[in-house]
């Protein structure tokens, strides 16, 4: 929901970043205000996943130019955990399997880390169990997933539900969901999208990184950005997503190149 005067949560300016010597982001600017849902679309290798991972503090990327402010303060100097504690959440494209750590243990550690950083109450295992069972319903997950090791042996859909479950527990201010729809069948997609929608509110914002328009049938974006070659080359509303689905990405590139040539 776009509201005039809603506070700016994320302000990315002219961001350039590389992995090793290879530039990936070549001047990205993006402003996200409270209450908004943004979709970043684009072909493979366009840099959209890099942007999501970089914003959450992935150590593989180095910023070479530009700035990122989160709720008015510099984000790039913060460790990944400090970003999470400040309310940033990355839903992983490929959630990591962690043998030997139960999902319940992991979820409670994550929850308590974030609670402690916010000066809020930490929960013991019994109290946490009540909370997590309530949230499980949101993503239609069986409680038996709590006893299993983190993501180990989970199907693609189960891993993504587990990501949304973490989002539900951590109640992020800004959620970056990286290809949350990939590998999901239509039922799982509906469940995951339903979970995301129920977590969207006036005070938080969601950035969806996605390859396909399909997800946007379930989560309605306020803005659709097209990313290519490490830049956002076009921004529109949800109609743009449908147009991309119908016409592909080439015309956007052509339009962008023509505009640049004319400038």
């Amino acid at each position: 929901m776009i509201r005039a005067g809603a506070p700016v949560l994320l302000d990315v300016r002219e961001l350039e970043a590389s992995i090793g010597d290879k530039p990936i982001l070549k001047g990205v600017s993006l402003e996200v205000r409270a209450g908004e849902v943004h979709a970043i679309m684009g072909p493979n290798g366009s840099g959209k996943s890099t942007l999501a991972k970089l914003l959450s503090g992935h150590p593989a990327y180095s910023v070479t130019r530009g700035s990122v402010a989160y709720r008015g303060s510099d984000l790039l100097g913060l460790s990944p955990e400090a970003r999470a504690q400040a309310g940033l959440f990355l839903g992983f494209q490929y959630p990591v399997e962690i043998p030997g750590v139960s999902n319940a243990q992991f979820l409670r550690l994550a929850y308590n880390s974030v609670q402690a950083a916010r000066g809020a109450e930490e929960l013991d295992p019994l109290e946490f169990d009540d909370l997590v069972r309530e949230k499980l319903a949101l993503v239609d997950m069986d409680p038996s997933f709590l006893e299993r090791n983190v993501n180990e042996g989970f199907s693609g859909g189960e891993k993504k539900r587990n990501e949304i479950l973490q989002m539900a527990l951590l109640e992020p201010v800004l959620a970056l969901l990286d290809e949350t729809d990939s590998g999901l069948d239509i039922d799982a997609l509906r469940v995951v999208a339903g979970g995301v929608n129920s977590l969207a509110g006036a005070d938080n914002a969601i950035v969806l990184v996605t390859h396909y328009q399909r997800l946007l049938n379930y989560i309605e974006p306020d803005y659709v950005h097209v990313m290519e070659g490490g830049q956002i080359i076009k921004t529109g509303d949800k109609a743009l997503a449908l147009e991309l689905e119908a016409r592909g990405y080439d015309w956007v590139r052509a339009e962008f190149d023509a505009a640049r040539a004319a400038a």
């Binding site: 992935h58 955990e81 999470a84 962690i98 043998p99 750590v101 550690l109 994550a110 880390s113 974030v114």
Partner: protein, 434 residues
Amino acid sequence: MVAAQSTFLTTLLGSAPQRSTGMAWLDRVRAAALERANAAAVPSAREEEWRFTDLAPLARLSFQPRAQAAAPSTQAVAARLLPQAYARLVFVDGVFAEALSSLPSSAGVRVMALEQALRDEPALLEAQLARLGAYEHNVFTALNTAFLREAAVVVVDPGHAVSGPIHVLHLASGSAEPYAIYPRTLLVAGARSRCTLIEDFVALGEGAYFSAPLAEVSIAPDAAVSHIRLQREAASAFQIAAAFVEQARGSTYRLVHVALGARLSRLEVSVVHGATACETAIDGLAMIGARQLADTHTSVDHAHPEGRLRQTHRCVAGGAAHAVFNGKILVRDGAQRTDAAQSFRGLLLSERAQIDAKPQLEIFADDVKCAHGAAIGQLDAQALFYLRSRGLGEQQARNLLTYAFAAEVIERIAVPAVRSALARVVLERTREAA
């Protein structure tokens, strides 16, 4: 190889006031072992079996026999006890502590210290003691046998299932003077019997001491023995241990061994399948830091058909620690349809840590399944980032992943109280190693 005897051996052997045990056969065994020890040298790194384990720090020290056991406070001991145990044999610095022990008498199983066992079961002792524990080629088993005066003896009758674990607790009190001790365990499991043996080596204080434990486990047909071995010796202690296991037809032996302590430790496990269809599971964990060295040598001898082995070993090395694993699987000619699988994984927590692993498969039968895998690595960077992106601090994330790596072995411990106590110890250790 004839080498000049080290100070270490000279002191140990020179200090042997060999009082008679009162049993002529036992005196003979001890004398023969002493002769072996006298002719032996401390193994050097030039020997293949000791290639990665340098005993020089041990050989430099002089250890005296423990003259008198220190009496630990009951409070210090209480924390080490296992309420679920069926029976408990406590040794303090190698000496049986009757007052701290609990030896119920019930039909089907006898749990005894050596002195009583020699009184009550002389024929069985003569037949079984030092039968499996070969001392001809190993100076440390020779030393243990030469100084044999104390032992934990467990005899389970055919068909009997022992109602709870048998806890053999070795407490090291620590002392300013380096001393030597020789713990020994004899378990004789009758046909179709079931039991759990816990050998628990714990330091109550600091101090340099040398311990050379030896266990002999004889398992009759269709019996099942679960063996848990916990090594938590003092940081400056040395432990060179051996376990000899012989399995009869259709028997099961499950060992979980965990090494956390000692400046230098080594465990040699030797399992022999003495008949068809023996099943063996060995799970080991060594978790060390600082300048510790932990060496695990296992050998499973498949001498008969249809034997089965499942083995997992994990090493976690931090600081400048050095972990060694040598896992030998011998499948003899004729041991057809043997099914063996061994998995080794090592985790290096620092750049100065070192892990050497050597799977050693020697297969002389043609209809067998033998799988093995060995991998050494560092903490997974993706998993670390995943945890940190959920708000866990970097150190907390490292600790959790390290713990998880070790937990795979700890989870195999079938006694819940031991499992959870050890999980706590390992979690603490994770924090210290950080």
